[in-house]
């Protein structure tokens, strides 16, 4: 884990964008129609650019001496701090759109909060990112409405399945960072992850209830911890259904206790990460320090 909590924060943000951007780019040439091909390709291009901006901020702030290529492509798997949600394969269109909706609505909250960060360079980058992310969120909301409210029951069911699969790991986007208390007390992270998660889950619950899809919150995936990447440990399905992580209380959906797919912020990843990392970094590993 990085010694400086600011590095943990900015790598979590940048790695989320890089890894999800990589997944989005895998739709290039394969999306159901050409507009979506363009949409996911463009969103991927934006996300990777945001990652690059943030890696540069990390370097220019003196937190690392590695450049953006070395940070994006030159780290061992256990040093990537992305949320597990971002590394999952695209699956079907229902899962892709569900994940994009969950990620971009969650991202919107932290981008807005970090626009007020006491870390000036990070705040400036977030204000640029905010204007571009609006288009991603509009895209996701359009698809949410079309699949949730559209005439096709099959589409709605597949979207609901996608939401069910993704929701637990989407909650873990807000998994606390190492050294988070220090970040919050110094105003670098103006609001804690738990606090932001409360807002997001409240909004999400309302959107799902409006489409009668809130049942997906009650039956999301198992809660568990990722094993350390590359450790050789076998993942244990340590499922404790008594702590589902999400509860409905006083008419509002809330987070309680555990995280599904937790560990991303500490470099612990799912079985899907290593193949992604191997492909993504193959060229850079074959030619260390290569420049375009």
């Amino acid at each position: 884990m990085p010694d400086d909590p600011r590095l943990s924060l900015i790598l979590a943000l940048a790695d989320d964008e890089l890894i999800l951007g990589h997944r989005h780019s895998q739709w290039t040439g394969w999306a159901p129609h050409i507009e979506e091909d363009l949409a996911f390709s463009s969103i991927a291009q934006d996300e990777m650019a945001h990652a690059r901006m943030l890696y540069r901020v990390a370097r220019e702030s003196g937190l690392t001496d590695r450049d953006d290529d070395a940070l994006a492509l030159g780290r061992p798997p256990e040093e990537y701090l992305n949320a597990v949600l971002c590394e999952r394969p695209n699956g079907d269109w229902g899962y892709t759109v569900a994940r994009q909706y969950l990620y971009d609505t969650a991202d919107a909250i932290r981008v807005q909060v970090l626009g007020d960060s006491s870390w000036r360079a990070l705040a400036d980058a977030m204000k640029v990112i905010e204007l571009e992310e609006k288009y991603h969120r509009d895209h996701a909301v359009t698809w949410f409405n079309r699949l949730a409210e559209g005439p096709s029951l099959t589409a709605r069911e597949r979207f609901a399945e996608g939401l069910t699969t993704a929701i637990g790991e989407a909650i873990a986007v807000f998994e606390p960072l190492s050294g988070e208390e220090e970040l919050v007390s110094e105003g670098v992270l103006p609001r804690s992850n738990e606090d932001m998660l409360g807002d997001w889950l409240g909004e999400l619950g309302e959107a799902l209830e409006a489409s009668s899809l809130d049942y997906v919150l009650a039956r999301h995936g198992p809660v568990g911890e990722m094993v350390p990447t590359g450790s050789g440990e076998i993942p244990v399905e340590s499922v404790d259904f008594t702590v589902p992580g999400v509860v409905r209380r006083d008419g509002r959906w809330m987070h309680e206790g555990a995280f599904a797919g937790a560990g991303g912020r500490r470099g612990r990843h799912s079985e899907d990460f290593l193949p992604l990392w191997e492909e993504m970094t193959a060229l850079y590993r074959a030619h260390p320090g290569a420049k375009w």
């Binding site: 291009q45 400036d124 204000k127 204007l131």
Partner: protein, 176 residues
């Protein structure tokens, strides 16, 4: 746009004109000064520093623009140490595009972003239908729909004109 020309005004003007000769490779008629991405030019005895603002963070033209801006400034002010860099503050918004830049976009078949204030177009009858679409760069109608917020470059969206039945592109509005 702030231009500090207090040191040597003549050089300042030449540098600015050199930058005005650099065009966005993705929108050739549009110069970088008209796009509003030249934020600051600082002249000193030995050096010229130019701060540019990226339109979209992932725009692949940024590196080309930086190189061409450096070359243009160097040839306009030989003997100076020229440094061109991109900065993120203030953030670029699409209302920084000048009226000349909006004309240049339109001449390339791309509808300028945001409010059409100051734009002169001939309005056909079809445009009087109550719609809020982007103005068609071909016929001037506002009876248009956005087909996709994405397009051939990060800064353009895809639209369709119901009046003249042409697909067209519009520069994406980027404002707070």
């Amino acid at each position: 746009m702030v231009m500090r020309t207090d040191v040597r005004e003549g050089v300042g003007r030449e540098v600015w004109e050199a930058l005005a000769g650099v065009h966005d490779p993705e929108i050739p008629p549009c110069s970088i000064t008209d796009l509003g991405i030249v934020e600051r030019v600082v002249l000193s005895e030995q050096a010229i520093d130019v701060d540019l603002l990226p339109t979209f963070a992932g725009c692949p033209a940024l590196d080309v623009i930086k190189q061409e801006a450096e070359a243009a400034v160097r040839s306009a002010a030989p003997g100076h140490d020229v440094r061109v860099r991109f900065v993120y503050s203030p953030r670029w918004t699409s209302d920084r595009i000048t009226p000349a830049g909006r004309d240049a976009l339109r001449s390339y078949g791309i509808t300028p972003p945001g409010s059409p204030r100051g734009d002169r177009v001939v309005i056909p009858l079809a445009a009087l239908l109550p719609t809020e679409g982007a103005t068609c760069p071909f016929c001037g109608s506002a009876n248009t729909v956005m087909e996709s917020a994405f397009g051939p470059t990060l800064c353009r969206a895809t639209h369709y004109c119901r009046a003249c039945r042409n697909p067209f592109e519009a520069f994406k509005p980027k404002t707070a």
